[in-house]
């Protein structure tokens, strides 16, 4: 009944997470994130003047470009672009720079499972590096349902292919507040599921995912804080 995962990981153990800022020189902001072997690079350009045709000029506009590792952009990549755009629209302060466009370019370096969460973390790192105002960071996790009903977190490629069902969840990073508040339950920003699972299983996945939010966001904020700010001008 017990699940043997590669590297002796437990069901709730995540792979080592590493993020670094300011990895590129020309981009206004750049970040690289790796979940174990999965690695994604993100770059941010913006805010640039003007919005696209059908976008609301009262708010800032976000544009996401997803670059797969090999080949041209496909349907799955376009779906990732759309999901990332909507997720990042939630975390950015869109009213800070109205009538502007910010471009986020994601490059997949290696995909070993849990690609979307890794891309979201890389995009957040790049946005922080570019100085785009954000409400909070996004913390993403991938939960899978195995045949025997167990739920495991952060699968690698082999585990993803053998899964019965999986769900990607994005939560807002808990904000440190001065005001004394009761335990506020933050909502789910994004939930993307593949495969068939019962309603109870889905809520179990959400519960497990939510339990991972606090340690993940601690790791992320620590990584972002520990790096020295860049003092180079990138204009021109």
């Amino acid at each position: 009944m017990d699940l043997e995962r590669e590297g002796g990981r437990g069901a709730n153990q995540l792979r080592p997470l590493d993020c670094s800022r300011n990895v590129l020189n020309r981009a206004h902001g750049s970040g690289s994130c790796s979940h174990g072997e999965t690695r994604v690079l993100a770059a941010v350009y913006g805010p640039k003047a003007g919005t696209k045709k059908n976008e609301n000029p009262e708010k800032a506009c976000l544009e996401v470009i997803w670059k797969p590792k090999i080949g041209q952009i496909g349907k799955a990549d376009k779906e990732f672009e759309m999901i990332l755009k909507r997720t990042l629209q939630n975390i950015c302060l869109l009213t800070a720079h109205p009538n502007t466009t910010t471009s986020i370019i994601i490059q997949v370096v290696h995909d070993d499972g849990s690609l979307l969460p890794c891309a979201i973390h890389a995009a957040c790192t790049a946005l922080v590096d570019a100085g785009i105002p954000l409400k909070y960071l996004a913390v993403a996790i991938c939960c899978c349902l195995v045949e025997n009903g167990r739920i495991i977190l952060d699968p690698n490629k082999m585990e993803e292919q053998r899964m019965k069902a999986l769900v990607h969840l994005v939560f807002p990073s808990p904000v440190q507040s001065v005001l004394p508040e009761g335990s506020k339950e933050d909502g789910i920003i994004t939930s993307l599921s593949h495969g068939v699972m019962t309603v109870d299983d889905y809520f179990q996945c959400v519960k497990h995912g939510r339990a991972a939010v606090a340690p993940l966001s601690n790791i992320l904020t620590k990584k972002l804080q520990s790096q020295s700010p860049s003092n180079q001008s990138v204009a021109g």
Partner: protein, 426 residues
Amino acid sequence: MTLNEKKFIETALLSDLRIDGRGPFDYRNVAIKFGREDGSSEVQLGQTHVMGFVTSQLVQPYRDRPNEGTLSIYTEFSTMADPSFEIGRPGVFAVELGRIVDRGLRESRAVDTESLCVVAGKWVWSIRIDLHILDNGGNLVDAANIAALVALLTFRRPECTLGGDNDQEVIIHSPEVREPLPLIVHHFPVAITFAFIGSESTVVIDPSNFEEAVMGGKLTATLNTNGDVCAIQKAGGDGVVQSVIMQCLRIASVKAADITNKIKKAVESYNTERALRKIKRHPDPVVDVSKGAGMGVRSLSIEMEKTRLEIEDRKVNRSDDREIETHSSKKTGSRDPYSKGINGDELKASLASRAAATSVEKMDVLPSVKTQFTMIDKTPTEMDSTPSLQQTIEAGEQTIKVKTLMDAVKPKHRRKKKTYPNHDLS
């Protein structure tokens, strides 16, 4: 580019000064790194960043060349490299870069395409190189060429044999069953770019992006260490005297030798590291027979990408290499970290101090292993703060402890028995 900046660069060059402090014939530092899989490379030339990926596929050959495999190069001028790069169809520069790299590698017969033939006239290997330009710091051609070359040298294609009835079916063997084969590369064509700046046509090697914006003309020479000129490209621009061109070619041959040495060293270190990983692989005799016979090729195109499936063995290997530093953390990785014997707070404190000591490097694949390993132990202690899940994990961990492969490997003994298999590097 403002007029002031242009004039500054030109007048500084009259006194042999470049704006980044180099001399006119100083090449920038080349840093070559490798990715997780075979055939993926990352090259940094000053501020220019290029990544190369090589994949292979079985296809039908061209009609006029039934015995040769094909090599194709795809360049992606990503918008992240430069705000002026647009998405959509590749622009003029992207196509030109692709053509220069292609001429250097394919038309000079650097890669042996005849060895890529499987069944003459029916099945050949098609090698595809994807070059991603991540950061434009000038001189993309040279960096892209090095990335393509390094990726080709570290690429391994799966071995395939003929089988089935009347030997017409191709069976592709997975990497666990048969060791994948490297490509045959006869020589290393290295591209060196020169820029001609100003009215006196001052020559500089390896232009940065500011110099490229003010240059009047550009010359790219692809040479190898045998003294062959594989390709020369000077597309328009200011006219240059013959003697200057000859001087450029002479300087280029010296620089090409330097770069070839760097490439050879980097590829050799990658191969030794790969060989170490292979030696420590846990052999699984049951898999051999069934897998080899089971695979058959029916459809026209089957993508074979190299995947590292033996992740647990790699983690063990890394623990051997860094045994001294991460000795106690390795112990906690292989045993149950939640057992009553280890004090959780002590562990957290010791790991926190170690994590603070290791420096996190950006975009480095090999050194980041150190941080990876400390992170493995950090995450379990932070993750399992929820008590309700801990009990089930504890029970699970203890029962499966007996079976993991880490227990089967004895690191200290293995270290002495290491032998480096012979591998040839052309």
